[in-house]
Each structure stands twice: as C-alpha cells, then as structure tokens.
Amino acid sequence: MLDFIIGHFNNATYIMLMMIGFYAMTGKTNLVKKLVGMNIFQWSIILFVVSLSAKRGATIPIVFGSHNPGGPAHLDASNYVNPLPHVLMLTAIVVGVATTGVALALLLRIYKKYGTLDENELLKRARSSG
C-alpha cells in the first residue's frame, strides 16, 4: 500500500490538494475562502499535468552543440523533457488567472452591495432587501 502511494506520489499529492480545495469550497462560508479553495483545486490539476512530463536526468528539449559540425548525430528522446504539458498548463494558468479576476470583481461588487462576504449573512441580507 505504502509502495503504491510512493510510486504514485504525484497522484497522491494532487488528490490531497484537490480535496483541500474541495473542502474550502464546500465547508467555508466566507466567499473569499471559497475562491481560494477554487484556486487550490485548479492549481492541483495544473501541478499534476506538469508532473506528468517530469523525467529524472532529462534536460530541456534544446539540442546542445547541434550547430557545430560533429555535433550529436542522433537524438535519444528519453534525454529530453516533453515541453508540451508545460506549455498547455501555461495556458491553463492564464485561464485560471482570468477566472480569479472575474471572481474577485464579482466579490467586490457583492461587498459593495451587501457589505459582507459571509455566505449566511449575505443570504439573510439579500432576502431582506428583496
């Protein structure tokens, strides 16, 4: 069992982070904390996908010395890290930042309108104001 968890270390980490985020989203009543939970949730997945391309002893996918005559004649792909997951997650981070921005803007408007960010208090005030 322990070996399995250590063997799937990246999976275990992302699931733990994801559950922390999930707990914050469902268990907390403060809307900012919900947002933070949402971010942890997203980031856990980004970490996981980046970890997929991690490789021990590999380097960035740039061929050193290929300009010189007598450089490496053939390449071994196992020496290089797959850059695509990183690039994809860069895009996903940008999307995540945009989502956070929209959510923060919404929180700002909620606070201006109701003067609170606590969910229970908010529902009470929203109900009384109609």
Partner: protein, 505 residues
C-alpha cells in the same frame, strides 16, 4: 472521403473576437456606433456559417489548420455535418438575441452597452469555436472563454445576480478543472490532443486505468457545465437573475454546446462501444437524464416566477437531450440532436418573451399575467407557440424530436424511459398551460389579485415592446413551427450523415 481546406471556419470565430476588442475603443469615440458594429459582426458570422453549411452539404467536411501546422501537431478546426448544423444554430440565435438586446439592455442595464456588446461578442466567438475545434485542449480554452463571458453577463442583472454569478463561477470552474484533468490523463497515455488522432490511438488503450479515469472525469466535468441533474445547482439562479437577453442567449446556447461536446467526445473520440459497454456511461447518463426530466418539471410547476420556472424547465429539457445521447442508438441520437436544435429555439424565445413582459409591464409573477393577451397579443402568441413546442404538440418541432426519442427508447427496449418521456411531457403541459391560462384570462377584478400585480422590479412605464424586440421573438416562434414542418430536411441533410459509426441504428 476527401476533406477540403478553407479559412471560413476560423473567420466565423475570429470576426466577433476581433470586433469585441475594437468595440471599447469605438465606444470611447462614439457610443451609438457600438450596436451597429456588433450587429455587423454577428451577421457576418451568420452569413459565413450559411456559406460553410452549404459547402459542407455539397462537398463534405471542411478543415482549417492554424498557422498551416497539420494535425496532430497543430490545432485544427474540423466542420462536419453536425458542427455545421450547430454553427448555423448558434450564429442564428446570437444574431437574433443581439437584435433583441438593443432596447432591452438599455432599459435593464443603463449605460453599459459598450462592455455588454464586447463581452457578448466574446461569448459568440467562444461558442462557435467550441463546436468547430478538433483539438481537446483548444476545446478547454474555448469552454473557459464561453464560461467567463457568461459569468460576466449574468452578473449584469440586478438584485442577487452577482451572488448567482459567483456561484456559477465556482461550479463552472470545477467543471472546467475536471475537463482539464481528463485531457491530462488522455494526453499522458496517448501523447496526442487531436480528436481524430485520439480516436485512432485510443482503441488499443481502452483497458488502461488512465483512459477510464480520464473519461469519467470528462463526463462529470461536462455534466457540470450543462447542468445535468444532480449538478444543476448553479442554473436556476444564473438564468433567472441575469438580464433577459442574457438569459435567452445562455439558455439557448451554452448548455446545448456542452451537450454537443459530450456527444462529440463520447461517440467520435471514443468509440460508441466503449461508452456503451466498457464504461457504461450511456446507461448512467440515461437514468440521470430521466431523473432530471421528472424533477426539473416538478420543480418548474412549483415556481411562480416566470423566469425561474423557465430555468427549471431548462433542467428538464437538458434531460431530453442527454437522454437522446444516452440511449446510444440511431433514433435516440437523432432525437437528441433534433431536440437540441428545437430547444435552443423554444427556450430562447420563451426567455425573450419573459423579458418583453418585464419590459412592458414590469411583471414576473405568473399570477399577475391576467389579460396580457389583449395588451401584448403578438408576444403572448409567440409564447403560446413555443409552449406548444415544449409540450410537444404537432406540428411544432418539439413533437418530432420527442417522437424520435420515444422511438429510440423503444428500439433500446427501455420501457421505463418511454414512460418518463411521456410523463415529463404531461408535466410540461402542467406548468406551461398554467401560464397560458393566466395570459388569456380576462382582467382581475378582486383586490387580492391586484396586490400581486405590483412589479417586483418596479421599472415599468407601460411602454409598448418595440419592433426590434418583437421581430426576433416572432422569427424564433415561427422557427419552432418551421423546424417541425421541415424536420425531415434537417434530419436527412445534417443529422443522418452525422450519426456516429458503430451506434446501433
């Protein structure tokens, strides 16, 4: 089959996108130019979708490679018959709702036209991109473009709309994150993101745990996005508190597009046999859809607010579409896609009517609709036609899609589901007939009813609904009937060639 190259697919997406960035600058100079320019972009998109659909019908699927990079390395747009139909539908609905929004948005959200149309165009381009793309990660980006613009548009509504929008942000992001996770899993075993390439690589990996987990996460993520029961918590608030033009647009398009993505990935990226047997997602989806159809309709009956009622009815109608996909046979698929098209027309029109009633009278409570037919005859007529479509009376489109769904359920020998479709139709009659009854009742006489008629929004001045709002409603309502009369054309031209290979006919 020879596949043609063309730049039309990307133009449909890029024209609204570029225009949306031009609009804020244009708005600084002259605010009155914003609406015509936005309308131009939307009509341009629709015109291009018509050209593209004609081309797809005549010569088969059309492709476009971004930057000339061929798949599986580059991002490709692939328009087959199903995508062409969806593009036509989406650009048509966004164009009509765009025309409608001119007057209604000025009244509901004053002085916000410039950002409104900017975001509106981003939503239009996100939706069209979502159906055109053939790349799993590109699909994620378009999914988030669509959702982000939806959050912003929903928050424009008054009252608790901001709170509903925040709830939508949280749940929508969880859905998108699950989708991203599934893309990560699929990429980790195949090393590819292109749909056609995945379809080629996946069959030998169907037993892999990563593929199974990825597929399960995909189904849950997309179900969250399309508000399939029990993941519908964000929908009623978002639909009922948004400005009416926005409600009409997102009710007609966003959840439908998510259903399209579900069908696309389940049957075209994975083989139907995988979704049916290896991981019996179709069975689970059918039963979830059946519960959605019953519970959504029951909840709709309990509502007195028209927009909230329509929102709950949307949950039930999503059930029909997912049921069609979940039945996993030719008839069911035809019924599901046909209902997707019909429902986009009907629900957009119903939300537009709800907006028009608020515009003219300020009323949202169904019990206050007495005698509406004499003051707003065309609007109530449009509502009645669409309500008949929702219930499934011939000759409206809703009748034919339900017939195909029932035939599909009979083909699969799911007798309980046949019963559920019929019961849900009767329940739809329950909530919609109630509205029609109040609309055509003579004016109230006693004090009690007068009290209910106080406008909740309190901004009505009895100004009659302008033509720019009336005409889109009437076009959509006549579209509901035309879709019924010419459903054979839609099926034979668009849906039949799109039925996935491997589905039992």
């Amino acid at each position: 089959m020879n596949i043609h190259q063309s730049a039309t697919p990307i133009l449909i997406v890029i024209v609204p996108l570029i225009t949306s960035f031009v609009l804020p600058i244009l708005g600084l100079w002259n605010r009155r130019l914003v609406f015509p320019v936005a309308l131009c972009a939307l009509s341009c998109s629709f015109g291009l979708a018509l050209v593209l659909a004609r081309r797809v019908l005549n010569t088969g699927p059309v492709q476009y490679f971004m930057g000339g990079w061929e798949p599986p390395w580059g991002i490709a747009f692939h328009i087959d018959h199903l995508a062409a139909l969806m593009l036509l539908l989406l650009t048509f609905v966004t164009l009509l709702v765009g025309i409608y929004s001119k007057k209604s948005i000025v009244k509901e959200v004053p002085d916000q036209e410039v950002p409104f149309y900017s975001v509106y165009l981003i939503l239009a381009s996100g939706l069209t991109g979502l159906v055109s793309t053939a790349d799993m990660f590109n699909l994620y980006v378009f999914l988030e473009i669509t959702s982000l613009s939806c959050y912003a548009l929903v928050s424009l509504g008054g009252g608790v709309a901001v709170v509903s929008a925040f709830r939508y942000v949280i749940l929508g992001t969880v859905g998108a994150a699950f989708y991203l996770l599934s893309v990560g899993y699929l990429y980790s075993v195949t090393g590819s993101l292109n749909m056609a390439d995945l379809a080629r690589l996946l069959p030998s990996l169907y037993e892999s745990n990563a593929v199974l987990v990825g597929f399960a996460f995909f189904v849950i993520g997309i179900s969250l996005k399309m508000a399939l029961f029990p993941m519908h918590a964000w929908l009623p608030g978002a639909y009922s508190n948004a400005p009416s033009a926005v409600s009409a647009l997102i009710a007609g398009t966003t959840t439908k597009v998510a259903a399209y993505v579900l069908a696309r990935v389940m049957f075209f990226v994975f083989e139907p046999s995988f979704s049916i047997d290896t991981l019996p997602v179709t069975t689970v989806l059918s039963w979830m859809a059946a519960i959605a159809m019953i519970l959504g309709s029951v909840m709709a009956i309990a509502q007195s607010d028209l927009k909230r009622m329509l929102a709950y009815s949307s949950i039930a109608q999503i059930g029909y579409i997912v049921l069609g996909i979940g039945l996993a046979n030719g008839m069911g698929f035809t019924g599901g896609i046909l209902h997707l098209v019909n429902h986009a027309f009907m629900k957009s029109c119903l939300f537009l009517v709800a907006g028009a009633i608020v515009y003219q009278t300020g009323r949202r409570d169904i019990r206050s609709f007495r005698n509406l037919s004499s003051t707003m005859p065309w609007t109530t007529a449009a509502f009645t036609i669409c309500a008949f479509g929702m219930i499934g009376l011939p000759p409206t489109g809703g009748f034919f899609s339900k017939v195909y769904l029932i035939l599909g359920a009979i083909d699969g020998e799911h007798w309980v589901l046949v019963g559920v479709i019929l019961v849900s139709s009767v329940l739809a009659l329950g909530y919609l007939a109630n509205v029609i009854r109040y609309m055509y009742l003579p004016a109230a006489e006693n004090e009690l009813d007068e009290k209910v008629e106080e406008s909740p929004q309190g901004e009505s001045n009895g100004e009659p609904v302008p033509l720019t709002m009336l005409i889109p409603m009437l076009i959509l309502a006549s579209g509901v009937i035309l879709l019924g009369l010419f459903n054979g054309v839609v099926i034979s031209q668009f849906i039949d060639p799109a039925i996935p290979i491997g589905l039992p006919r």
